[in-house]
Symmetry: C2
Subunit: 203 residues, 2 copies
């Protein structure tokens, strides 16, 4: 199998961090997204949505969507469990994964894509008013998250999970999106620093 990778963009990074936590190595095919490599034949012929990352199995089957690729590896190699264990544990990871996506990653991405000058050719039409409207959504969620993290180590409980990966990368993505984690959110800052200190964060 091979993983068509998009470098420093958030979604390709989610899969690389996940694989690093699992201790799984997959051959990478680097694609230069800055030069719109994901819109060329190599990617378009495998994913009509022309997005990365993308996993191609040896028989040619293609899996797209970061979380779907991660789930494939979770099923192949269940330990360490990054999607939770048991019915309730799996449900709570799914819940936090989605909260991180819908209330943090998504507003941060919208702010980035609709405001950053470098995104003009990516997001057509760019609507700065919509980008700005998303910044307070992200901040509001970070306050909620700070409350939740007061009495536990990770997003979904006592164990590191894919929800932490999504949360860490969303917060890292706030820098180019020019949104700041409020100073007073000590629990979010402690949590994020701990995630960044894991070797997987550099994957």
């Amino acid at each position: 199998m091979k993983l068509f990778d998009g470098g420093k963009a958030p979604n390709p990074r989610r899969v690389r961090v996940f694989l690093a936590e699992k201790g799984i190595e997959v051959p990478l095919v680097p694609v230069d997204m800055g030069a719109f490599g994901h819109r060329e034949e190599q990617v378009a012929s495998r994913n009509p949505l022309r997005r990365l990352p993308l996993l191609e199995l040896d028989d040619g089957t293609v899996i797209t969507e970061s979380v779907a690729i991660c789930r494939y590896f979770e099923e192949l190699q269940p330990a360490p469990a990054l999607f939770g264990t048991g019915a309730l544990g799996k449900a709570l990871v799914e819940m936090w994964q989605r909260r991180m996506e819908l209330n943090l990653m998504s507003p941060v991405a919208q702010a980035f894509r609709h405001i950053h000058p470098a995104m003009k050719e990516w997001e057509v039409p760019q609507i700065p008013e919509w980008g700005e409207a998303n910044k307070p959504k992200a901040i509001e969620f970070l306050h909620l998250l700070d409350n939740e993290l007061a009495d536990r180590e990770f997003a979904a409980g006592d164990a590191y999970s894919i929800a932490d990966i999504t949360g860490m990368i969303a917060i890292d993505f706030m820098k180019p999106a020019r949104v700041q984690v409020p100073e007073e959110l000590a629990n979010v800052r402690r949590w994020h620093a701990a995630l960044r200190a894991r070797p997987s964060a550099d994957a």
Copy 2:
């Protein structure tokens, strides 16, 4: 356990259709979202995001996010499998579930929330230009989906799955969002009609 339900809104309906397909009955607590019942104490004390649906277990544990609630029931009662079977089957359901959410449900919801006059108090600020920008995104994806459905019965393959539930409800949601399925997309129309003919569609 009890399921705090939001009536005809898309996300509460996703869970009800899922439960109907599983043949699982859960006591419902109806909440009138039209009267902003989901912003009142009953919901806010259980879900700080003040959204529905929401599942409360007998010990008071709360699971939010439609797909997390569905996954909980999938784990409790695996048959019929609505999240796929086997590593590849589960990955492909996850992939199609996310494609349906990100490329169909989400743009349709954005069009509805940012254009429909009834959403003025829900989506602040309402940005009609952003709503309009989402309509062609949904239509573009429907063309891609039509291609895919040419040679299979369901979104993720030969078996009905949660990806079909999300897709069906997204297409139903196009009506209030005032977006039409293009006449020529015969495969999408055939697939949607077949899903609507299942008893679960009325749940």
